[in-house]
């Protein structure tokens, strides 16, 4: 049994048999002795005193003069420390910056210290996430209690995991016992050892989580792709969190993280497939133009079969869509699934991006590109790791580096992104504003959406929107956002307006004024625009076709009152024919655009999916909820048609 590291300590350690005494965590009987503290202070006097005080408290102390050194120490030993004490004013790095880094990368509790006791500084500590703030000179009594922050963080972490459904019985019990144990002030002996023992018992499954790990994993695009790859490899039925976690082999990723993510993913898929059944207004008309375009290949993200069988898709449309082969079935599911745009994005964003044929005419492509960019920008925004943008988006970005259409919009809206690198930039540096997705999960977005819509609209327009008059007109007219449930009805020309469409996909063709892609709204809601393409596609679809715009937007319509009018005004046939007439000549191009949009949309969806998880937005339902509504509530656009 390991004794405390303090040379003064000579406490007997009777619980030597438990796996607790791995040295990683507290020593069972001597808790909180052995707490591994990293103290960072540029003042050598203070550092020495603190070290001595901490040792006096029986903690295991590592001292550091510089923040950079501290960070690298932490990175090298991911599980090597339980808590960090840092000075605020340091020459090489601001203490709060270090605090942020630690919070993001290691999620350890951090206590700030300073001789500065001004309210502002203390407040800064609070807002940056410090567990505590000690005023220098630090007294030993204050240090004696820092273990509480470690325990608290872990307890909350269990809670989080539990809520996200990742906990199993053991966790629950452990948590309960931990809570009970730590309710009393005396944390030594039994209670602590019990907790330690319980925790240690789980080490085989949660080798990373035995020490304080981040309660929330940031499910970046890359991470999610990794996750998807592994899940597909294992097969969705056989994918169990433990295996997934092992195969992903991501340091710091716990089984609970994976489990909760998997659950969300499953719910998401379920919803997609379920939603398509609810699409009552999917119109065929909107599919018509696609028929000739699409081959027999399945459209990405579009569950054509489902749609077809559910009556949403006419056979010809189905064929067309399939011919497009652009959308993964998942995406389609997403799309139709109550306009769960976001869901789509969560599905292998890279896949559909790859599949999109980029053979649009320059002009249109440019337009589309912009829209795609907008989507991808959202993606990039959401996803801190831009370089991994779907290749497709990259191509898009590179082919027509247009302005940043929705950058402003998106930037303004993506406020929820936790990562700091939220810059919607395409591979070539173009900040693509993906769909004006708003990262405002659950926020009642009618107003926000409307606002966003306006912004997006203007943004799109400015970015050189689509050349199609139809779009422009529609765009101007339509203020409603129609969730293109199917996204299938995304006409190539419409793609040109994807951006617009996404924001305000009310193509002039349809003659509807208030055609807005509900998708956009929804996406905006989440602030993610991974599948901007998809979004756009959806958007475009809606405006043009009443049917196609069916975004299960019951809710969206609710939130965005403008959406409804459009559907009421035009019948699907009217819209369809109008649209077809206008875009007929540019069909091939539109198809491409459409595909691109679909991809974008998927990206957006993925972002939303991921983002919602990151944000801890509750259950999957919220991910695609427009204004927090479940997808099921999305009103179908195509009312009167």
């Amino acid at each position: 049994m390991k004794l405390s590291h303090n040379n003064k300590v000579s406490m007997p350690t009777s619980t030597s048999t438990s796996p607790l005494n791995s040295g990683d965590n507290f020593i069972s009987d001597q808790f909180p002795a052995g707490l591994r503290v990293l103290v960072v202070d540029d003042d050598p006097t203070c550092l020495m005193i603190l070290e001595r005080m901490l040792r006096f408290c029986l903690y295991e102390v590592t001292k550091c003069k510089r923040a950079e050194v501290a960070l690298s120490l932490l990175r090298e030993n991911k599980n090597g420390f339980d808590i960090v004490l840092s000075d605020v004013h340091m020459p090489d790095m601001d203490g709060f910056k270090l605090l942020e880094h630690i919070g993001l990368e290691m999620d350890l509790p951090v206590i700030m210290m300073s001789a500065d006791d001004g309210k502002n500084v203390v407040m800064k500590g609070v807002t940056h996430g410090a567990c505590d703030y000690l005023i220098k000179p630090v007294r030993i009594e204050a240090l004696k209690n820092i273990w509480q922050h470690v325990v608290r963080k872990r307890t909350n972490k269990w809670k989080d995991v539990k809520q996200s459904g990742g906990l199993d019985e053991r966790d629950r019990e452990k948590k309960v016992s931990s809570d009970a144990d730590y309710s009393s002030s005396a944390n030594e002996g039994k209670s602590s050892s019990k907790k330690r023992r319980d925790e240690e018992d789980e080490t085989d499954e949660r080798d990373d989580s035995s020490t304080s790990k981040k309660p929330r994993v940031v499910w970046s695009i890359e991470l999610h792709q990794q996750f998807m790859a592994v899940v597909n490899q294992l097969g969705l039925d056989k994918a169990v969190p433990k295996k997934i976690m092992e195969m992903m082999n991501v340091p710091g990723l716990t089984r609970e993280n994976v489990a909760s993510h998997l659950q969300k993913y499953r719910l998401y898929l379920r919803r997609l497939s379920g939603v398509s059944q609810q699409q009552s207004n999917l119109n065929n008309p909107f599919m018509n133009p696609q028929e000739s375009i699409f081959g027999a290949t399945p459209i990405n993200g579009i569950d054509l079969q489902t749609l077809s069988t559910s009556g949403h898709l006419s056979p010809q449309n189905l064929a067309k869509l399939q011919a497009a082969g652009l959308f993964s079935s998942e995406n389609s599911k997403l799309r139709f699934g109550e306009g769960q745009l976001q869901h789509m994005s969560s599905i292998k964003p890279t896949n559909f991006l790859h599949g999109i044929p980029i053979n649009m005419e320059p002009k249109q492509f440019a337009n589309f590109h912009q829209s795609a960019q907008s989507f991808s920008s959202t993606n990039t925004r959401v996803n801190a790791s831009s370089p991994k943008r779907s290749p497709w988006l990259m191509q898009m970005a590179q082919s027509q580096p247009r302005g940043h259409m929705l950058n402003e919009n998106i930037n303004s809206h993506t406020t929820r992104f936790p990562s700091s690198s939220m810059q919607p930039t395409g591979p070539n540096g173009i900040s693509v504003n993906s769909f004006p997705l708003r990262c405002t999960p659950g926020s009642s977005s009618s107003s926000s959406k409307g606002a966003f819509h306006a912004e997006a609209t203007s943004g799109i327009k400015e970015s050189g929107g689509f050349s199609y008059d139809i779009f422009n007109e529609l765009h101007q007219k339509s203020n409603n956002w129609c969730l293109a449930n199917t996204g299938l009805s995304y006409d190539a020309s419409q793609h040109a307006n994807p951006l617009q469409g996404s924001i305000d996909v009310s193509p002039p063709i349809l003659g509807n004024g208030g055609f807005h892609s509900i998708q956009q709204t929804r996406q905006n809601r989440d602030g993610m625009s991974q599948g901007s393409l998809q979004n756009v596609g959806q958007h475009l679809n809606t405006p043009f076709f009443d049917n196609s715009l069916r975004v299960k937007s019951e809710r969206i319509l609710d939130t965005n009152s403008e959406i409804n009018p459009f559907s009421d005004q035009f019948s699907q046939e009217d819209l369809m024919s109008a649209f077809l007439n206008q875009v007929g000549s540019s069909f091939p191009l539109t198809l491409n655009i459409y595909v691109s949009l679909v991809f974008l949309y998927r990206q957006i969806n993925l972002f939303i999916f991921l983002f919602s998880q990151h944000e801890g937005i509750g259950p999957l339902e919220n991910e695609f909820d427009f204004d927090g509504y479940s997808l099921d509530n999305i009103p179908v656009y195509n009312r009167s048609c």
Partner: protein, 153 residues
């Protein structure tokens, strides 16, 4: 001088230092951190404090004498000095630093200069006192005695 006498002398000296505000409760904490396993702790910390302070004061003098005074930098130095002196328990030095910082905020260079002088003075004072105190402690230990534990009420 025999041990008991030295110890009493030490205690009297300590009391006066506290009464005069040279040292505060923080110094007592340092005393308490010293034990048989860390017998030289106080000496080590105080020595470190002296070293560090010399460096800071040098930097401060340099900064204050500049043509264009960088108040931010000065403030940073003073802040650090305030922290270390507070950690040691050098109360008067700490208070002088606080005053110094206020003038830095006001960007009053003349006041800053005079404050610097004051800080220096206080530092030299407490340095002398501490050296005397530690010398006494050394003698007590050398004579076989132990340093009494003082309680700060």
């Amino acid at each position: 001088m025999e041990v008991g006498q030295m110890q009493r002398q030490w205690m009297g000296y300590m009391k006066s230092l506290f009464m005069e505000g040279f040292l505060d409760g923080q110094f007592l904490q340092l005393q308490q951190l010293q034990d048989e396993n860390n017998p030289e702790f106080v000496v080590e910390v105080v020595s470190l404090f002296f070293e560090d302070s010399e460096r800071i004061l040098k930097d401060l003098s340099f900064a204050v004498d500049q043509q264009s005074v960088d108040f931010k930098k000065i403030d940073a130095h003073v802040h650090q000095f305030k922290g270390s002196s507070a950690s040691i328990g050098a109360q008067r030095v700490k208070n002088a630093c606080i005053a110094f910082r206020n003038f830095c905020e006001e960007q009053n260079i003349d006041a800053c200069r005079s404050c610097l002088q004051q800080v220096k003075q206080e530092y030299i004072h407490v340095k002398n006192k501490l050296e005397t105190l530690l010398r006494l402690e050394q003698q007590i230990v050398a004579a076989g005695g132990s340093i009494p534990m003082m309680e700060w009420n």
